[in-house]
Subunit: 205 residues, 3 copies
């Protein structure tokens, strides 16, 4: 079940990556690379940080084909996707929660400390987007806009708390997805965002 | 033989990295760092992704000295290099094929899936240039211009197909280098490139 | 003792990262991420390159809390910090030496070649700043300005030479910190920098 959600999520993330590549006029190969990195880069960074080899996608060729294909199809259907805006926001929110929960589980199974487990969840959730933006030579949006990374943090905390309380896996997952999607929808609908730190002083440090 | 070609190739890549650093007015230390990353960064990313520790260059100090020296010498001979333009294009093409083949072999020996082997080859071939461009704060050129990454892909596919058909190592290598160089020369001579995906819509995803 | 210095140093580095994030108008989450990466990113890259798992900070939650808290406190005290300019330059110099020495030790204990040990020291010393600048979408300053990375190199060479000569750990550390701080202060006071390589030729390589 979580795996099915994950496959839909990485495809949606790959498509978002492909659009970002298109904004930089990349060629088809670049589109495929950025799509792949956006979708699977977060999990890759997590696996490397945790020393969790072999890296997940190297054992699941399906994920590779899915993200590369998703990226390339985006080139054809980019015009249509504009009208699916709402759908993509929902898929992206589902992806954020799925990535976070899966990331937490990987670190949990490796016996890491709680704070590291939370960070593994967040890393899986947001680092694909960070890599996408680095590849497209722009400041990572996830560190600047909206309630996005924070939702990943809250979902990770809720997930771990419920698990620790002995709540069943099913209810825990349901709670994580419900809260995560609710927060994302609220954030998008009312434009909620974290306060911003603006520091205009010239560099002296 | 492949090792000799590899040493020439990393030196040429280091020099290309040094020129990119020069365009950003880096100091001598920055030039050495970017030269090193351009030449050995692709193999480093590959080794980390494949969990192939120790990372290759940590066991071959020669490669480190060669790339750092190559980068620093570039500062002195930059003016002359302009006239060696053609030579560098050939060396770069040879490097691309050598990197690709070596990358495939590393993943092959570790028993990875075919698609991962191909990606290991491409990663070795193009990620040095991507790291160079990230360090120089520009959108990776390899994702935007010319038939470059695609040549790496085609070479990897040819190499693996011939090996699987039981063709000898020597002939396989000869075929890989011939096709790779031919494709690069054709791409440069007639300015062949992959189609570009341009997407100008404002960010909504 | 070295650990206490290290904790002060990562806090100071985290604060420098937070200011850089503030210059890009990042939100509080982004500030925490960049603070963490600036302080602990160098050691992380070193551990990954050396295959030294688990990565250091995953075993020391204190470091995580310290850097994230340091980053967030910076938001509040940014105005005051302007007047502590001199203090921060000293803390940063101390951090550079501490990072370099610790990085050398990690590679030394893993039995790597001398040149790799030196590179592990430099990587620990400067890569946090490089990651900070990549996250803030600017060309890494450490590769462009002042005697900074070079001080890391000189400290690493001095440290290893003294150790090899059988000089005691205490005196070796004292010498490393004395020389490192002296060089940094001289570099800042008289604006000493490495020569710059400027190459304005259009891209042809």
């Amino acid at each position: 079940m979580l795996i099915s959600i994950y496959m839909v999520a990485i495809t949606a993330e790959a498509m978002s990556g492909a659009l970002a590549a298109g904004r930089r006029n990349m060629d088809f190969f670049g589109v495929a690379v950025v799509a792949f990195l956006t979708a699977l880069g977060g999990g890759t960074v997590r696996d490397i940080l945790l020393g969790n080899f072999p890296v997940n996608w190297t054992q699941h060729p399906t994920y590779i084909y899915l993200t590369v294909t998703g990226g390339l199809i985006t080139i054809v259907i980019a015009r249509v996707m504009r009208h699916l805006h709402q759908l993509f926001l929902v898929l992206d929110a589902i992806g954020l929660v799925a990535f976070t929960v899966i990331g937490c589980n990987v670190a949990l199974n490796l016996g890491y400390d709680t704070i590291v487990i939370v960070m593994a969840g967040i890393t899986t959730g947001i680092f694909g987007g960070i890599l996408r933006d680095i590849m497209c030579n722009r400041t990572p949006q996830v560190l600047r806009h909206e309630l996005y990374a924070s939702v990943s943090l809250i979902v990770a905390l809720l997930y771990l708390t419920l698990l620790e309380q002995g709540v069943g896996e099913d209810i825990t997952l349901l709670a994580a997805f419900s809260l995560g999607l609710l927060l994302r929808m609220v954030a998008i609908r009312w434009n909620v965002s974290l306060p911003v730190f603006s520091y205009s002083q010239e560099r002296w440090d």
